[in-house]
Symmetry: C2
Subunit: 312 residues, 2 copies
């Protein structure tokens, strides 16, 4: 008998998927908050939870062997004071679609001046300014994992030119041109859009800093769907105020939620979303978990394991 603890605000919805899988020898416990752990939670060998809830429960999960995170961001579990004597699976491959929709949404909204036109509508004004278009524009991808790759595919379908900046600079079929990260300023020098989808590691901290922002043309727009710390927010604010950049669409920040009163909130040209570019829909995460649980129960290694040292 394996005890599974589902610790999630949507525990019931996840449990429906688990029940329908008819896995033998599984004892399922449900909780929506670490303050309300059910009796027997100490026996839980497998936990399905978002990192934020898991942290509060960790001290009591003395039988823990494997965690499937329901969220992509697992950085909070990497803090050195927390236990690392369990397997941790992240979420991979299910957020590409949402992130690509987010990226294209805000690219198109920029070209089409959606906000400005809606303001005109509110004033009852017939706003016949000329729109721009994505076709022919150049998107540079900083990071070309499953998310960057899916964004690049959509951009190509819109007739955009595409480049990628990666550690190795190795050729792929995903984009037209490839650059090593050492050549980042050169890579972005004729970008219309810079799409960031980097993990949070020491190497990526403030990778987009003042000199990189200087290298971007003044009509360029940054879209960050990766991690907040890969972009130097103070340098961004300076560049925006100096008119050296047309805009930035930020879903992630150095500290989240973004502090009230932060200068980013009302900096013209900056769009702020609340780390919602990809959310965990139960119908996306549950099948991934069940496939991974099948591997675990069969004695195999679960997929998408996080390296506590490497950080992703």
């Amino acid at each position: 008998m394996t005890t599974l603890l589902i610790l999630d605000s949507q525990a019931d919805a996840y449990n429906e998927f688990v029940k329908n899988a008819h896995l033998p020898g599984l004892n399922v416990l449900l909780a929506t908050d670490p303050s309300g752990l059910p009796e027997g939670a100490a026996l839980a060998e497998v936990v399905l939870a978002p990192p934020g809830l898991l942290i509060g429960a960790l001290p009591r999960l003395t039988s823990l062997r494997w965690v499937q995170s329901t969220w992509a961001g697992v950085e909070s579990l990497l803090a050195p004071e927390l236990p690392r004597n369990y397997l941790l699976s992240g979420v991979k491959g299910v957020f590409g679609t949402q992130m690509a929709e987010y990226t294209l949404c805000y690219m198109l909204a920029h070209e089409r001046q959606v906000i400005q036109r809606f303001d005109s509508q509110r004033q009852g004004a017939w706003d016949h300014r000329m729109p721009g278009q994505l076709a022919g524009k150049h998107a540079v991808f900083l990071g070309l994992g499953s998310i960057g790759g899916e964004c690049a595919l959509r951009c190509r379908q819109f007739g955009m030119r595409t480049s990628a900046v990666t550690r190795s600079g190795a050729q792929t079929a995903l984009v037209d041109k490839h650059f090593q990260v050492e050549n980042l300023p050169q890579a972005v020098s004729d970008a219309d859009y810079l799409v960031m989808s980097l993990p949070d590691t020491p190497e990526t901290r403030h990778l987009v800093d003042g000199p990189v922002l200087d290298a971007l043309p003044p009509h360029a727009v940054i879209i960050n769907v990766g991690r907040g710390r890969s972009l130097d927010q103070q340098a961004l604010l300076s560049a925006m105020k100096a008119g050296e950049l047309a805009g930035a669409v930020l879903d992630v920040f150095e500290h989240e939620p973004l502090a009230p009163g932060d200068a980013l909130w009302d900096c013209p040209g900056i769009t702020i979303t609340a780390h919602t570019s990809a959310v965990s829909f139960v119908e996306d995460i549950a099948p991934l978990f069940l496939a991974n649980l099948g591997r675990y129960l069969a004695g195999e290694q679960p997929h998408h394991l996080v390296d506590f040292t490497r950080g992703y």
Copy 2:
């Protein structure tokens, strides 16, 4: 010697393309307004102009044989009191890209609640409402010409299901399902989006009326990039006020520009753009004109001829 009159606010830009084509035996006259026609305009056999400017010049264009419109909408030239003794070429095939970008832009903006989130930002609020996504949603196309077809292609690339409603209901490779126009209410009954790209003809007037709006599910959004008269605006307002429809994105109206004070301006859920879903970029129109001019000068029939009786 053939005299060409370029009558357009961007006449100089068009003339650059004409000059670069090095066509022999062409006498080119330029004007930006019918009130300032150059000497010799009465000799113009070929005119490149938008309908709005052409109308004012028509009485003086006594040698006119062929007009290439720079704009898609040529209805104003079909008025019965105007001469019809010349060939009129419309613009086809160059607006699909822009219209597809417009359509996907506003679909994505709806799913992603771009306006609502931006309002949250203006209030400094961390807005973590869940976004929707296009993947899996159902788009129904009313009209499947070059514009509807290109919109349908993009929708499919986003993983949407697609249906089309046309006069014949004939099968195409462009969408998943086909309906005859008689079955319009049935076709839209499970639509998430209804994309209208119809020409303005007696048959399409108020084709989307109260009963069709009733047949749409309450979560559906209408996008009209075709002609305003194919949608009954009063019925739309009633449906919106009754909560029978989630929204409408309108680029065209029964009368344009939309009158100040019209109830559409501030009806919640209605997005108004000023007939800008596709605009005439000189770099798009000039090559089309030059190809057509080549045909005309060679004694062939120009492409995209408008039937003055049929209306398109």
